[in-house]
């Protein structure tokens, strides 16, 4: 099922996302389990917004996320695994930057 359209190994997306979440939760990546929720990890709404920002910066993607409705939208934040899957989908859908072009933010 793995989509590798962006040419990036899926494992690195997973590691990067876990790294970001671990940093926000003040834990080591080894402490993060895929089935955990952000709440389990002690990440509050501010921490969530900061994590989303860090993910956008790390992968050069725009995450559809509105703090007024964290569960709404297309970006599933219900668990660590769900976030990884959602980021993988956004990375796969990311347009390949052309040679010499700096990838601009793709805003809806």
């Amino acid at each position: 099922m793995g989509q590798t359209g962006a040419g990036m190994p899926t494992i690195s997306v997973r590691d990067k996302v876990i790294g970001i979440i671990a940093q926000q939760a003040v834990l080591t990546p080894a402490d993060i389990a895929p089935d955990q929720t952000l709440e389990d990890l002690g990440i509050d709404s501010l921490g969530l917004v900061e994590s989303i920002f860090a993910i956008e910066e790390a992968f050069d993607i725009a995450v559809p996320f509105n703090a007024n409705d964290p569960g709404g939208g297309d970006f599933d934040i219900s668990s660590v695994a769900a976030i990884i899957a959602a980021v993988e989908a956004l990375v796969a859908a990311r347009p390949e930057p052309g040679p010499g072009l700096s990838p601009g933010p793709s805003l809806a």
Binding site: L46, V49, I52, N66, A67, N68, A108
Partner: protein
């Protein structure tokens, strides 16, 4: 203790270029939120706001003035002119010494900062105009009002984010009530609709991309506005002696702090501010007919505010009307309480309750009479105006009909 009345009002905001236009728009339930016309809009994900459209600074100010007046100062001066003209006051001698100006703003001269950061960072220039500092400083508007009208008493600026104007007006009220001043110009101004001003808000992920729908179950965030409102607060006997028209009485004021979280509000802090304002005004909850809500249209504010009102007013919460005019003029941040006080005066003086427009779907967590979409006629004797800022700073004013 002295009594305090409002003897003049002025405004410029997205709903109107003066008080009459603004109140007419509120009566009609007109929404001034629309596509923003600002530089680099294509790089913003939030592209709507309540902008003062068709505004030409050169129609109001000369070149020397524009060199010193940021947009937020211009808005202040235009609204102050209308307010002072209505009050019919001239500030000379003893009155000038006992008169001052306290204004709220959050961003101050943010357009000036934005433009000049562009000049030095983006365009790489190494020289800026000599008046950038006096133009961008947060007290510029208050100082220019003081200069323009010869106000020689206490003048300063309050910056408490979204509660700035209410804090400012509350302090002006207290200064007159305590006998320290006879007349205070007060209110607030904001002109934050520039690339940097919106980009910063965008980052917080609380902005709506399509509409401001306070209290509606499908609300999805706040929408910024801009403009100013200025009022003349005057000691009652002074106003009566000169036969001034009194628009309303400022009856009470309270401020509290959540002491909790930098962005998430608590119902307790808001409730204590409302009950404090009632106590300060000597009002019973049953006497309040209308509350101008903070009502930002975010998930967090609206449900917290409704819980606070329900708790503060008990059974009376089901009887009173509460509306958010931000649905029409947007959130003016540091200037918002000032523009919203106009809706309070309209309720008391004209018996017309401004609606919450954009209301589409009932939310069980906001189960109050939010005056959805259409203005209502009702006689009310007392009103509250709520403002709850980021940082957990709450300021509530109580007004009474004269």
């Amino acid at each position: 203790m002295k009594r305090v009345v409002i003897t003049g009002a002025g405004t410029i905001n997205a709903l109107g270029l003066n008080v009459a236009q603004t109140l007419a728009a509120m009566r009609e339930g007109r929404c001034a939120i629309g596509p923003l016309d600002i530089r680099d809009i294509d790089r913003l994900s939030v592209q709507i706001g309540a902008q003062v459209k068709g505004y030409d600074e050169t129609a109001h100010f000369n070149r020397q003035q524009i060199a010193l007046y940021d947009r937020f100062t211009q808005f202040t001066l235009l609204s102050a002119k209308e307010a002072v003209a209505q009050a019919g006051l001239v500030f000379e001698g003893e009155l000038a010494a006992r008169a001052g100006v306290v204004l709220g703003t959050s961003g101050g001269g943010l357009n000036t900062q934005d433009e000049n950061y562009r000049v030095v960072y983006e365009e790489g220039k190494n020289r800026v105009h000599p008046f950038i500092v006096p133009k961008l400083m947060n007290n510029a508007a208050a100082s220019h009002v003081s200069i323009e009208y010869n106000l020689k008493g206490p003048s300063f600026t309050v910056a408490t984010a979204c509660a700035s104007s209410n804090h400012a007006m509350g302090l002006a009220f207290q200064m007159i009530r305590s006998g320290g001043c006879t007349v205070m110009l007060t209110g607030g101004s904001e002109a934050m609709l520039c690339f940097g001003g919106i980009k910063a808000w965008e980052g917080l992920r609380v902005m709506s991309r399509d509409a401001c729908r306070p209290f509606s179950a499908n609300r999805n965030g706040m929408v910024q506005g801009e403009g100013a409102a200025t009022f003349v607060f005057e000691e009652y006997e002074h106003a009566r002696a000169r036969g001034a028209v009194m628009l309303a009485e400022v009856a009470g004021f309270a401020m509290t702090s959540d002491a909790s979280d930098i962005v998430m509000p608590t119902a307790q802090g808001a409730e204590r501010a409302m009950t404090g304002a009632l106590r300060d005004a000597g009002l019973n909850p049953s006497e309040v007919g209308y509350i101008n809500a903070h009502g930002t249209g975010t998930a967090a504010n609206d449900k917290t505010e409704c819980a606070a009102v329900a708790h503060a007013f008990g059974p009376d919460a089901d009887r009173l009307m509460i509306s958010s005019t931000k649905s029409m003029h947007g959130h003016l941040i540091g200037g918002t309480g000032a523009v919203e006080l106009l809706a309070c005066i309209m309720a008391l003086r004209d018996g017309i309750i401004a609606p919450t427009v954009g209301y589409e779907e009932a939310d069980p967590e906001c189960a109050l009479d939010v005056v959805p979409n259409v203005a209502r006629e009702a006689r009310v004797d007392a009103v509250l105006s709520n403002a709850f800022a980021f940082g957990g700073l709450n300021a509530v004013l109580a007004l009474r009909r004269l």
